[in-house]
Symmetry: C2
């Protein structure tokens, strides 16, 4: 069961089925519908979600009703409103499944205790954090150094699968531009 999760939790070293099963006890399966909201803005994000199938979206809603996508979490990765989950304080962002999804959720205390079951987790978690941080640095760089056109071209090159499966409006607010602007970029590029 859940080979993606097992791979993710193992890190460098392989873990036994017993160890993995013990860890699995603290994960709960949640099946979501399209556009289902898992965390509302203002809630404390109590769970970390592993995307076994589907895709999560973390987004902000400003006072004018405009949405901005902070992150997209593809299959095989953990995601949640990270600042809220880690600090256990109210979330600015919403967490939503963009399509019908299969999530494995784990609460804060269990997440912090994962290391008790899983010998490789301490290091694997640190590596994942480092990689997520690096990804976010690259996102910052693209936002401060490139125009919308370049950002779209880059996303198309690196994440063409995301572009294919997600509606334009989500891609647009992930890039930090309006739907209309993206619509026009598509013609030019």
């Amino acid at each position: 069961m859940y080979p993606l999760l097992k791979k993710y939790l193992s890190g460098d070293i392989s873990i036994t089925d017993e160890q993995f099963n013990a860890a699995c006890n603290v994960f709960h399966l949640k099946t979501t519908k399209r556009n289902e909201v898992l965390v509302e803005s203002g809630d404390i994000s109590r769970y970390m979600y592993f995307v076994n199938k589907g895709c999560l979206r973390i987004f902000l809603l400003n006072t004018d009703g405009k949405e901005s996508t902070r992150f997209l979490v593809p299959e095989g990765r953990f995601g949640t409103s990270f600042p809220s989950f880690i600090l256990q304080e109210p979330s600015l962002a919403y967490v939503q499944s963009v399509g019908p999804s299969e999530l494995l959720m784990i609460n804060y205390d269990d997440f912090r205790r994962l290391t008790d079951f899983l010998p490789g987790w301490e290091k694997a978690y640190r590596n994942n954090l480092e990689q997520d941080y690096i990804d976010s640095i690259k996102r910052i760089e693209s936002l401060i150094t490139t125009s919308a056109t370049e950002r779209y071209a880059l996303l198309m090159k690196d994440n063409s699968d995301l572009i294919k499966m997600l509606p334009t409006k989500i891609i647009a607010d992930y890039l930090g531009i309006s739907r209309e602007t993206l619509s026009r970029l598509k013609k030019r590029v």
Copy 2:
């Protein structure tokens, strides 16, 4: 010596002078001049720098010669070209000290081994990573959700000390806008 570093390395638990001294052996003091470049784009960033005095700046240089500041590292924090250091691959960014600074540098292998000397480091490092990641998420949010005017107002509120000590052009490319635009914002806000 170096109370700021000791505090940072300790994390939650206090460490003894002996433990700290052992750790100190792998740090080397470097005194830099204003605008001194520590890592060139294309180099592998071999050191993590602890800012004991002064301020570091991590910036990108595009083909037109325009600079963009990815991060500013204040006193009492670690900084380097993080993706390059962690992955030990060539850096896109430059690392520079904005004023005369006092840095404590540690090479990659020693950094990875810090945990051998310091009982609290594993956890402290993870906490710092989480916090740095959260900070970068907030930066992404401000870049995708707010206008230049709002970003400047927010920076002035949260980091007025940085604004005071750094030249306008650095603040401008940290915000991802041109010097001229920032100049005009200052009058309006």
